[in-house]
């Protein structure tokens, strides 16, 4: 019988800190699976236009997210809201969700620390 050595799955903390684009993409996929343009639109709408992902940044990040198992492809189909051609849809994985939660907690701690230092949450003169 051959002895199989399995590499343990990496913990969510090993992926932190995430780049802004990566975190935005994961957040866009938390509540629904989406195709590339739908991710770009969701990020732009959620940030009220402050964050705009271009196709290069989006697909470069998606490639890395697929390779690290934080996101998975969930098939190809036409978007019912638009015309037209079939598009590749992406969904967040369990690991991706855990990583997004860990990143959100990390950012929350940072904001709390900034608040304690009165960098935010107080009226500036």
């Amino acid at each position: 019988m051959t002895k199989k050595t399995e590499r343990p799955l990496p913990g969510p903390e090993t992926f932190l800190p995430l780049s802004a684009a990566t975190f935005q993409i994961l957040m866009a996929l938390v509540d629904d699976e989406r195709h590339g343009y739908a991710i770009m639109r969701e990020v732009s709408e959620r940030s009220e236009g402050a964050v705009r992902l271009g196709p290069g940044t989006l697909y470069g990040s998606l490639k890395r997210l697929l390779e690290t198992g934080l996101v998975a492809e969930s098939g190809e189909r036409a978007d019912p809201e638009s015309d037209d051609e079939r598009r590749r849809y992406y969904r967040i994985t369990k690991l991706g969700l855990a990583v997004a939660r860990a990143e959100a907690r990390r950012l929350e701690q940072l904001v709390r620390a900034a608040r304690r230092k009165k960098l935010i949450g107080v009226e500036t003169a």
């Binding site: 090993t14 590339g36 196709p55 940044t57 697909y59 890395r64 051609e85």
Partner: protein, 202 residues
């Protein structure tokens, strides 16, 4: 396809070939959708498109280069190690076999020394086994590691026996006949090329 889409497709050549093969169609669709959005002006649209390509393409190119270097090193390391050990085994095995043949012919056949004849024949077989293991390593056969381990154990046992029972071989031949099989056995038993997939993708 519109002129703008053709121009964008041309810009996508800045990305690595594998990446384009996987995502070019999707990127063109996203570009088309972006162009349909109401925007303040064509200049700002093209500026942000160029900036997006300029920011993401070099990083992806660098990643692709790093991956190809890592895979090249892995293949090369495996090739070089097996080739070096294989050539060494062929040369040392042939040297031992020639030395043994000389012993068989000179002392065994001409001088009718039966101990030299038996000892020389055993050393000849051991040398031939080492040569066979070397050829298998150079050809990178599937069973090269098993053959090399078997040949190394046999050769070491033969030379240990000859050193004790039939002290006919020269000191150099004995050291080589015992030392090289130990090195060959260790290589065949424990050498494994580095696994490039073990690298964490940042």
């Amino acid at each position: 396809m519109t002129a703008a889409e053709r121009a964008y497709r041309l810009m996508l050549r800045a990305y690595p070939r594998d990446f384009r093969a996987q995502y070019e169609r999707e990127m063109l669709l996203a570009f088309r959708d972006l162009r349909r959005e109401p925007r303040p002006g064509i200049t700002s649209f093209w500026t942000s498109t160029c900036l997006d390509v300029a920011r993401s393409a070099p990083a992806l190119r660098l990643e692709a280069l790093r991956m190809s270097i890592s895979s090249f090193t892995h293949t090369e390391e495996d090739f070089m190690m097996k080739m070096t050990m294989g050539i060494m085994a062929i040369m040392i095995g042939a040297l031992e076999a020639m030395n043994a043949m000389q012993e068989v012919w000179g002392a065994g056949i001409i001088n009718h020394d039966s101990r030299a004849l038996i000892g020389g024949t055993m050393a000849l077989v051991a040398g031939a086994l080492i040569v066979a293991a070397g050829i298998a390593l150079v050809r990178r056969s599937a069973d090269a590691a098993v053959l090399a381990q078997g040949a190394a154990i046999t050769c070491a046992a033969v030379f240990a026996f000859l050193a004790l029972a039939v002290p006919l071989m020269s000191g150099f031949a004995t050291v080589l006949g015992l030392g090289f099989p130990i090195l060959l056995f260790a290589f065949a038993r424990w050498y494994r090329p580095r696994d490039p997939s073990a690298a964490v993708i940042a």
